[in-house]
Structure formats: C-alpha cells, structure tokens
C-alpha cells in the first residue's frame, strides 16, 4: 500500500531580499498539489518617480533600483533615451560603457559564484562555513569582486550606485594612469579566471535538463552586454523596440512582481541563456576547457548557470583588458545631446539577463512615461516551471530536508534578487 504523504513547504516571508518573497510547495500523494514562488516586492514606483524628471536625472535615479547591478540600469536608461533623441554616442563612450558593464559582471558573478552558489554545491550551510575549509575559494571571490568594483569606480566614481553615466557619455574621462593601473590588475586576474572556469566545471552539479527557451541579446562582433538585438533559441530576432510585441508581462494572484511570457510560455534569461545563444563567441581555449569536462553548449541544464557565470566573468576580464589596452583620455567624454519629444527603447544585458527600458520624453528631454522590465521578473515563471519539473525529477519521495535544500539550491541558481538571502527557507511540514 502506498504511503499517504502530505508535505507543505511554506515560507511566509523571505527575509533580507531585494523585494520580498516566499516559497510555497505542497506535495500530496506523490504529486505537487501547489507551487508558488510568491514575490511581493513592495511597490517602489520608480517608473512613476521618473515622470517629470530630466533625462539628466534618470541615470542616477535608476541606479538606485539595485545595489548589485546599478550599472545595468544606467546603461539601458541612457541607451533608450539616446535612441529617443536620435543621438549616437562616440566609439569612446561605447567602449567605456562596455568596460563599466564588464566591471559589474565581474563583481556580480564573482559574488554569486563564490558566496551564494558554491556552498550549495560543496555541502555547506553558507559561505562562512565554507570558508573554514575552502578559504582560497572565498579569497578568489573577494579578489575578483574587488576588481569589478574597481572598474565601476574608475568610471562611476564609486562602486555602489555609481554616478559617472550621463546621456551623451560620461561626466569625466579617467586618467591614463588610472586606466593603466587597472589594466595591470586585470592582467593579473587572468589566472584566477581560468582556474574559476575549470573549478566550476569540476563541481558536482545536479542534472535538471529540460526544454528551455533561452532569450538573450546577440551581436555579431562581441559577446553581448551593451549592444545587440534580442534573440531567442527558437529563432526570434528583434530590435528592442519590438520587445512588447513578443514578451508579455502579466499579474499572477500570488505575486506582485509581474511575470513575463513569450508565446504564452516561460523563458530563461541570464548567463546560461546568453551563453546558449552566443557560445560561438567564447574563446577557443575556454571552449576546449569545458569540453574537456564533458560540457557541451548550448546546455539544457540550468544548473550549468554557475559555469556560464564563470565563463562570462572570464569574457568580461578579457574584454576589459582589450578596451584598456587601447584607452585614451577623451577630450569630450560627454557630448551635447539635443533633446526632442520622442520615445526610445533599449535593452542591455544585466548580470541576471536582459533589462529592457522604454522612455517617452517631451521636447526639453523630460520624462513623461517610463517602463522598465528587469530580468528577475522575467525569470519568475521559468523558476516556477523549473521547480515543478525538477522537484518531480528529484523525487517527491525524498525527505523534507532534501526537498527544501534542493528547492533552495534551484532558486539560488537563478541568482534572482529574491534569493540574495541564502538559505532562506524554513520548513513547515504537515504530514497526513
């Protein structure tokens, strides 16, 4: 006779998160009866705050949306507003924007890999416990994080909520000496990056292979950060202006965060989606390294996201080195932008995936309408879908502790802002 089993995993409040969230999973008679990743981010009204503000205020305001990826918000904002004003930034500005984005990817990815994800895969409760046995892992994470922060500081004046970005360019061009110092640091980090990719490939990662719709930007000349078109693994290839026609946001009852669907289905954004759509652009030696570990791209295993982050971190370091080798101090770091009444759209690749902005402006460049679609909300539906599938595959017969740990690991693997608190689940079990 089959044992009757009723498990409720209920977390009413996920603490220490950007926004607030909860996870409910109810298992009854070997089937998932209910599953909801409840995100109830308090209304922040950023889009409304922007209304009536000058385009010059926007980059500093949107930087406040996220403490980990402020650069991404600044980049999508200036790109959209410059498109509205029909302004084309200089090559120097484009290079510096990519460089700054490299800094954000490096700091964000290094922290997630070493502090949030690694303890899950090495069997520790948190990074503090892990650091006792693997201090070199945490040291490497700190070194790389510092490097990323230094890049952001070079162009933004400070690493958290930087202030250097403006429509038309940057408020100030870094000195040649500062750029050269940073170049030296980046070159010294290359060994760390190679070791990081090798190490993430050697981790014992669960296999939750599934049919994935990957959505990311793509560009012929470079691994996408700032430039490129939006593409999907199903063949869609669109400009940012067409985003709303293909990606539909909607409310769900259990979450104040908007879910997003493409063709009525969840989709994946973020490092693995980017890598899946742009793996031809990764360096040959990196490709050889991951193949040596038996990892092939594109990957359908979302747990390969940690490897994707490591590869992207290496790409970001290489890209930053390339840019800084050719650095010169621009006499005109910010160019004059002529404002007009218009609407602009832009998408860039935040560390966690595509970040889409839309702005309508008046003739003086004041914002009359703003819409921002962040990557975390786009991944909500995918995370729920993944949880359903992966928990089934993992085995509903497993103990509550095992199910909880697996669920936590899976959610953290997406690196959503809501998982910024590690080990956030408190298990409430009801067995019948």
């Amino acid at each position: 006779m089959t044992e009757q089993r009723h498990i409720k995993i209920n977390v009413p409040v996920l603490t220490r998160v950007e926004g607030e969230g909860a996870l409910d999973i109810e298992i009854e008679n070997n089937a998932i009866k209910h599953l909801a990743l409840r995100i109830y981010e308090p209304p922040r009204y950023f889009e409304k705050f922007l209304e009536g503000r000058s385009h010059l205020d926007v980059p500093d305001m949107v930087a406040r949306i996220c403490g980990i990826c402020p650069v991404a918000y600044q980049m999508s904002a200036v790109k959209a507003m410059e498109q509205a004003f029909d302004f084309t930034p200089s090559q120097w500005t484009l290079n510096m924007r990519r460089l700054m984005y490299c800094g954000e990817w490096i700091q964000s990815h290094s922290l997630h890999i070493h502090l949030l994800a690694a303890p899950d895969f090495l069997g520790f409760d948190n990074a503090l416990a892990m650091s006792a046995k693997h201090p070199q892992i945490v040291h490497r994470g700190l070194r790389l994080q510092q490097l990323g922060n230094d890049i952001i500081r070079l162009l933004g004046g400070r690493s958290v909520h930087p202030v250097g970005v403006v429509t038309g360019g940057f408020h100030k061009a870094p000195s040649l000496q500062a750029a050269q110092n940073l170049l030296q640091q980046l070159q010294q980090a290359k060994d760390d990056c190679h070791a990081l990719v090798d190490w993430t490939c050697s981790l014992s990662l669960p296999n939750n292979s599934q049919d994935l719709v990957s959505v990311a930007m793509a560009h012929d000349d470079e691994y996408p950060m700032y430039r490129g078109r939006i593409k999907t693994s199903q063949g869609l290839d669109i400009d940012a202006a067409e985003f709303e026609q293909h990606f539909i946001e909607h409310h769900v009852a259990h979450s104040t965060a908007l879910h997003a669907l493409h063709n009525g289905k969840p989709y994946l954004v973020g490092p693995l989606a980017r890598l899946n759509l742009n793996h031809e652009l990764i360096p040959a030696n990196t490709l050889a390294l991951i193949k040596k570990h038996g990892i092939n791209l594109p990957s359908k295993n979302v747990f390969h996201s940690i490897i994707a982050r490591a590869i992207e971190l290496q790409i970001a370091v290489d890209s930053a080195i390339h840019i800084l080798k050719h650095y010169f101090v621009s006499n005109e770091p910010v160019e004059k932008v002529s404002t007009c009444a218009s609407t602009g759209f832009a998408c860039t690749e935040a560390p966690r995936g595509i970040l889409w902005h839309k702005y309508t402006t008046d003739e003086q460049g004041y914002i009359s309408y703003a819409k921002i679609v962040p990557p975390t909300s786009q991944n909500q539906a995918q995370m729920e879908s993944d949880l359903r599938l992966s928990i089934m595959n993992f085995g509903l017969h497993k103990s509550e502790d095992e199910l909880r740990h697996f669920s936590e690991t899976l959610v953290r693997n997406y690196d959503p802002c809501i998982s910024c608190a590690t080990h956030f689940l408190k298990l409430k079990v009801t067995q019948t």
């Binding site: 220490r16 502090l115 650091s131 958290v160 802002c417 080990h423």
Partner: protein
C-alpha cells in the same frame, strides 16, 4: 596602515557616521596625516577588502540605541547582531563581514568598532553633532595612541 572607515548611507538616519566624519576629518588628517579615511555606503563584502592589509582599522557605524542620539560607543565584536548570518551578497552586515574576515584570517592586528547612537526619525541637532564629533575625536585619539600612530 591605519584606516578609518565611516559606514552608512548618504541619506536618512544612517548617514550619521558620514556627517560626523565630515566634521572631524580635517583635524584628524592634520594630527595624523598618515592615516587613511574612507566612506563606505553599505559596503557588504567590500568591507573585507577595505580592512584587508591594514594594521589597524576603525569601523564607525550608526547603531540603534535607547540612549541619547549621538552617543559614541566603543563596541566589542560580540555585541554586534549577526543573528541572521545568511551571508547574502546583497546585504552582508558589518558583523557578518567581520566574521568572514576573521575566518579568512585577514583581520588587522587592531580592529576598533565604534557605534554612534541614533533613534529612527530623530536627526541630530547641530549641537548634538558637535558634541558627538568631539567624543568621536577623543575616542579616535585613544585608538591612534594604541596603534602608535
């Protein structure tokens, strides 16, 4: 190297360490020209990088107290609240950062933790700010003395 780190935020009640440091910075640098002073806006993990490599670090942060706003308190590490202990990359507390730094063996020989009492919603008056600044300056003089600065 001796580094004095004001931790907080440019905005709200959590800006007290920034405000006080602004007050005493000129005199501090005049008396101790070799020290390094920095302001960190909710540094999280960054705090570890900032104290690593120093011989003496002084952390100054706002603390919620029931005592008079502006009171300067030298704290022990054990007095810091790190009950969450989640080690999130997005919101690592000062206490957690110190714990991790200790675990990684990168704490300086001398670490001083200074709290400045605040009560939410009660901004320090100019008189209170001046009193607080003097108290902090005196405390830092003692720390510098111990650090043979």
């Amino acid at each position: 190297m001796i580094r004095i780190i004001a931790i907080g935020s440019p905005f709200g009640d959590d800006n007290i360490s920034f405000r006080v440091m602004d007050e005493i910075k000129p005199n501090l640098l005049h008396k101790y020209p070799s020290i390094d002073i920095c302001y960190l806006d909710r540094p999280g993990m960054q705090l570890i990088n900032e104290i690593q490599g120093t011989t003496c670090a002084v952390l100054i942060d706002a603390v919620l107290t029931d005592t008079a706003p502006g009171q300067v308190l030298q704290l022990e590490e054990s007095q810091l609240d790190s009950k969450n202990n989640t080690l999130s990359s997005h919101d690592l507390s000062v206490a957690e950062a110190i714990k991790l730094a200790r675990q990684l063996d990168v704490l300086p020989e001398q670490l001083a933790i200074v709290g400045i009492g605040i009560q939410l919603g009660q901004t320090l008056s100019n008189d209170q700010l001046q009193t607080c600044s003097k108290q902090l300056f005196t405390l830092l003089e003692h720390v510098m003395c111990r650090a043979h600065c």
